[in-house]
């Protein structure tokens, strides 16, 4: 096409850099590159000058120094003598923890709300619409603060649970809901406890193996093995039997109202900030996921359901074999980007004082050491790695499920 309109090959003239379509794009790119380099050089020289002026340098040495602050909610050992790097790792793990919890909860909430919004029941579908609209249209920061306020202002203090004759009894004898957080029983592994856990993990794998075998058998021979009851049995029975055979090696460490005069001892404490962040992210993102789920189900044309029914499939099998596989193709990509949003929104932890990476590295460490550039760069790098890995997974998935037409 271009050969017709382009001038014949001849001697190169400077004006062709601007007027000839063959060379013009090189000119533009060259200009863009020069501008980019100039911009970076300008910013870099400003940076060098400003740092020299303030007597600073770029160095990550501060990460090895003692942090000097405490973190209540942590998954690994950490004291105020630990280094800033340890604090960063605690922050990373906390970010991943709240993101994971919120993703799971948001998915459950979103799927329930999305399906119920399509329900024949007028009242429940309207209620779900109200839920979706109310939570989608109010900033997540406000939800986080509201839920945090509910916990800290409405729930009783830990003191109410203490003593021989407490004001409030432990729920079911093992849960305590206080304004500092929720106390849940902690499992304690005795001798042989590990074996039970291993057996449980093995039976989970065995369950999936059985299900995939049953599916393969169905697709290959048309023979249908029962799915639901054997799955439950494989999952639960071996672990329960092992638990009793080994003499109940796993016990629960429940919060003890009598051990201490000022606070509950024992059990696992889930801090109020973590709960606020977890629930707020889950409910907020759940509203978005509900919309994705609804759109996905509605995207499967009615003809598919009817065709499956006319083949004689029962309703639950229509759902499992025909509707869901097609709906998931529509639902999963936006679902994964919602997970990404949850991870990024978990940086709002700083508003309620949950020690995620933004609050440790980007908050206290930054303020204490004054290493703003290094801290913010490291922070961005962390989130970039997470986002890029999630979008890689998404691209792989998309490639795997994309319709292979012609």
């Amino acid at each position: 096409m271009t050969t017709l309109t382009d001038p014949p090959q001849g001697s190169f003239k400077v004006s062709m850099l601007l007027n000839d379509t063959r060379y013009r794009s090189y000119t533009f790119q060259f200009i863009a590159l020069i501008l980019l380099i100039a911009a970076f050089a300008y910013l870099g020289s400003n940076l060098a000058y400003n740092l020299a002026e303030a007597g600073l340098n770029i160095s990550y040495g501060f990460l090895g120094e003692p942090a000097g602050y405490d973190i209540n909610q942590r998954l690994i050992e950490y004291t105020s003598q630990s280094s800033h790097w340890d604090a960063t790792i605690v922050g990373v793990l906390n970010t991943l923890l709240v993101a994971f919890l919120a993703c799971v909860t948001a998915t459950i909430l979103g799927v329930i709300a999305g399906v119920l919004r399509l329900s024949n029941n007028w009242l429940i579908s309207k209620l779900m619409s109200i839920y979706v609209e109310a939570f989608r249209n109010v900033p997540v920061l406000i939800w986080i603060i509201i839920i945090f306020t509910v916990i800290t202002a409405v729930l009783p203090g830990a003191r109410a649970y203490l003593g021989e004759d407490p004001d409030v009894d432990l729920t079911l004898g093992m849960f305590a809901f206080t304004n500092r957080g929720i106390y849940i029983p902690a499992p304690v592994l005795g001798s042989g406890g590990m074996a039970v856990v291993v057996i449980l993990l093995a039976s989970i794998m065995a369950m999936f193996a059985y299900r995939s075998y049953a599916k393969k058998l169905l697709f290959n021979t048309g023979r249908l093995l029962p799915m639901a009851w054997p799955s439950v049995a494989i999952l639960i029975l071996p672990a329960v039997i092992a638990f009793y055979v080994l003499g109940q090696p796993i016990t629960l460490d429940t919060p003890d109202p009598l051990a201490n005069r000022f606070n509950l001892r024992g059990g696992i404490q889930i801090g109020a900030p973590l709960i606020a962040l977890w629930f707020a992210l889950a409910i907020y993102t759940g509203a978005f996921i509900a919309e994705n789920v609804r759109a996905g189900i509605q995207a499967v044309s009615k003809g598919q359901t009817e065709a499956a029914a006319s083949l004689g499939l029962r309703p639950n099998r229509v759902m499992n074999l025909v509707v869901l596989p097609q709906a998931l193709r529509v639902i999963i990509p936006p679902l994964i980007s919602q997970y990404l949003n949850i991870t990024k929104n978990s940086s709002l932890a700083i508003a309620v004082g949950y020690a995620d990476i933004t609050a440790t590295l980007g908050g206290i460490t930054l303020n204490q050491t004054g290493r703003a550039i290094e801290s913010v760069l490291l922070l961005m790098l962390f989130y970039l790695v997470i986002s890029l890995s999630i979008s890689t997974v998404m691209n792989l998935y998309n490639r795997a499920v994309s319709l292979k037409e012609r």
């Binding site: 329900s119 209620l127 406000i142 990024k344 940086s347 933004t358 930054l366 703003a372 550039i373 961005m380």
Partner: protein, 431 residues
Amino acid sequence: MSDTHAHSVAYVRETQLPQQPPPTIETGAVKWVRQNLFNGPWGSLLTLVSLYVIYLILAGSLPWLLNGVWTTSNIRECREVLDGATGGCFSVLSERWNQLLFGIAYPSDQYWRPTVAFVLLIAALAPVLFMHLPRKLLIFTGLYPFIAFWLIWGGTIMVPIVALIGVGVGYAVYNRYVADSFAMGFFGGVAAAMVTWWLGGFVIGAMPGFIALEAVPSRDMGGFMLNMILGVVCVSLSLPLGIMLALGRQSSMPIIKWICVVFIEFIRGVPLITLLFVANVVLAYFLPPGTNFDLILRVIIMITMFAAAYIAEVIRGGLAALPRGQYEAADSLGLDYAQSMRLIILPQALKISIPGIVNVAVGLFKDTTLVSVISMFDLVGMIRGPILASTDWNGVYWELWLFASMLFFVVCYGISQYSQWLERQLATDHR
């Protein structure tokens, strides 16, 4: 035949029976209730559970709402008036509404200015939002940024006038040369506007008090007004930037393409809060020594870049959704790149992208609350900071957060409803 039949059958009906009304359980309200509320045991159970939930919510909130106190001046008086009864201390709203809406430092005798700017904003948006309004109104939309700037920030009217003249001169130069080449018109226009502004700087310096409103510095902006300013400014600025990024990402020139890809993916990969940290503590290191432009401007730059990256992805989707034939048709008409984009591709691509752009706009407007984390006093910052921390209103949570949620809900729900309406209006394919 009928004769033989008549003999063999004992009785034949010769008249039609009058139509019976359907059974009562199959008509009207009863049928509706049966189908929509008590449809099988599960449906009935769900209905009962929902009714109970609704009852719980109403029982908890109605007494609190209806028994609210609106006239006291602090929380202790409010509790005295309530005297142990359930009720909201809504007097925090009637006493502090000005701080919630305009921030703590905006001079109270000047509240009319942001209010007028807000009303004019609606007038300026109307012709953009509703296609059937006369196109002449767009002139006012073009003038609006200058008017709003003058109203909100104050100072001499010469600043917006010079800015406007600069834009006018630039546009005239662009129009004069665009026929020759788009690049020439564009850069000529930018240069002409720059020169005008530079010259205008002297004029402004010469008459600082010419029709001047009281100047309000940026740090005095706060409350919901700050959310509105950030939202409106950043969305409008990020649209052209996003279009350029999207076109750059689709470009066939590898260097330009990769610059855009890296920018978009970087911005989309980090949370807005880290960008706000950059605006707050890092950006100053990268500027020439001595420059000290204010936080609100730095935040606007960062949020605009953030929104532009998301809008670019939405528009890229729109560009990708256009059939290849449209690009080829534009080429075959002999249009150059700028013309084909401006006249053929973008109008269609933008139309497809409208719902996505509106989603980004709503999300961005909600995200403006994040500036409270870097200690700016927007609506959320205002509530958490000066109001809840004051001895007068320490402990009035629900009233304040309900108010904040309502404000955001009204705006965001309104925008998304508009977007759905527009989608129906723009649906030109009747399939």
